[in-house]
Amino acid sequence: MQTIKMKNNTYLLDGYSIVGPLEGKGPLKDYFDYILKDDTLKEKTFEKAERKLLENIVTGAIDKAGLKTSDIDFFFGGDLLNQIVSSSYTARELEIPFIGLYSACATMAESIGLAALFVDNGLAENALAATCTHFSSAERQYRFPLELGNQRAPTTQWTITGGGASVVSCLKSKVKIVAVTFGKVLDFGIMDVNNMGAAMAPAACDTIREHIKNMGRKTSDYDFIATGDLGKLGCEILFDLLEQDKIILGKNYQDCGCMMYNKTQRTFMGGSGAGCSASVFNGYILSKLKKGEFKRVLLVSTGALMSTTTNQQGDTIPSIAHAVEFEYVGAQNENNLAAAQKPKNENFSKNSLKNSKNATKNAKNRAKTKKGEKK
């Protein structure tokens, strides 16, 4: 079956999100853990900036969860750059066993899903799922130079600068991971790379339909259903597609890409990129889940799996969507939590601080030795 239900108790310990300056002016600004003032992060290139962004996200998440880097058994992650360099280079600094993933913008749900399965089956105690994107590095790779004075098609989306990381654990927390659905790759023959929403909507539709069917639920059973980055047009198409299967999406449905920006920010159909669902989930959705304002949430990250080469050679755009279901279990666990975890947490956070300092020291040393070699 496409949907895998967690057998044991697998929890989402905590999440951390960082977004860029433009995203930090959007409607969700109060929910993100950190908003960058400078999107270069004082690095020389945007690729290096993206790497540093992911590093900050990952260390932030580990700190926030009250763990040390050495407590993390596996790091699941990916990004949009060729050969997923941002994630690999981040893993180089962290020295956590790394499982690199690529599902384009669906990477967040895929990595949480896999991390949850590892934890659920006792292969790991704590696993980390992280991804991020950077507007400028993505533009460089997929589209035109930043300074080119061109116009965008009205159906384009805006790759966000930002990302998020989640710590999946067997330690109890208020948020439980219930089930994961890994999607099929679907291709409905869309060729326009400026219209990703239309290419991804069928995949989102299929995954949502399979998930709720396999779980025996209705869409109204969820307090919140979020798709990754379909954009305004993609959402409208998703409504229509699901209606054909007699599944009605209500007001509990929103798209992370549409939530990211204000109408005045001229981002056309809304945000996109792997970091989009990652930051909105770990920022907005998770904080609502932890407070119990959302009791049951379905996160459906969507990704378009083409490359610039396939597109230029006239191939259509295949797409994928993965879904993860979360549940608020705070009320049952709160007492246990308070008793079991508080004293531990203090030690952890001290250690994790030390640890992050060590990590930066290591990086600095490495940079020094590199400079030495050059001389």
Partner: protein
């Protein structure tokens, strides 16, 4: 329903949903921006003819083009030209300023990959097709003119 038919239907459906660019506002903006750029060019032309009365008309034109191209490169470097381009559309692309922008912007962007593999290789990624088509077109026209 077989896949091909499904895809065709889906594409037709999506096409009906896609928001269209409004023609008249775009045309107006393009006319305004293009007009202003050309007026600035004419301004330079008049200025140079006034300052250097000894120059031939073709030489004044060359000086004017050089000035305009230089200003565009500068505006591209300061990140102003892409804002003008995003607003003005074809109005900023069709004059020689668009050409200048399309060469200078990848040069700036790919400087980080080094002078040879970055600037030299990538500089013509956008302007290259225009140059090739221009050269081929002029050869064809030259041949036609030869036989007429």
């Amino acid at each position: 329903m077989d896949k091909q038919k499904r895809n065709e239907n889906y594409n037709i459906y999506v096409e009906s949903k896609v928001p269209k660019t409004k023609a008249w506002p775009s045309l107006f903006k393009a006319f305004l921006v293009g007009g202003i750029i050309c007026a600035i060019g004419q301004g330079f032309f008049d200025l140079y003819s006034y300052l250097f009365p000894n120059l031939a008309e073709s030489e004044v034109t060359t000086c004017m083009l050089m000035s305009i191209i230089f200003i565009t490169c500068l505006l591209t470097g300061f990140g102003i030209y892409d804002v003008i381009g995003a607003w003005g559309g074809a109005g900023s692309v069709i004059p020689i300023t668009g050409f200048s922008n399309s060469i200078s912007s990848p040069a700036i962007e790919f400087k980080k990959e080094g002078i040879i593999y970055g600037i030299c290789v990538k500089m013509f990624t956008i302007a290259g097709p225009v140059i090739v088509c221009g050269v081929v077109g002029s050869i064809v026209c030259g041949f036609v003119a030869l036989f007429i």
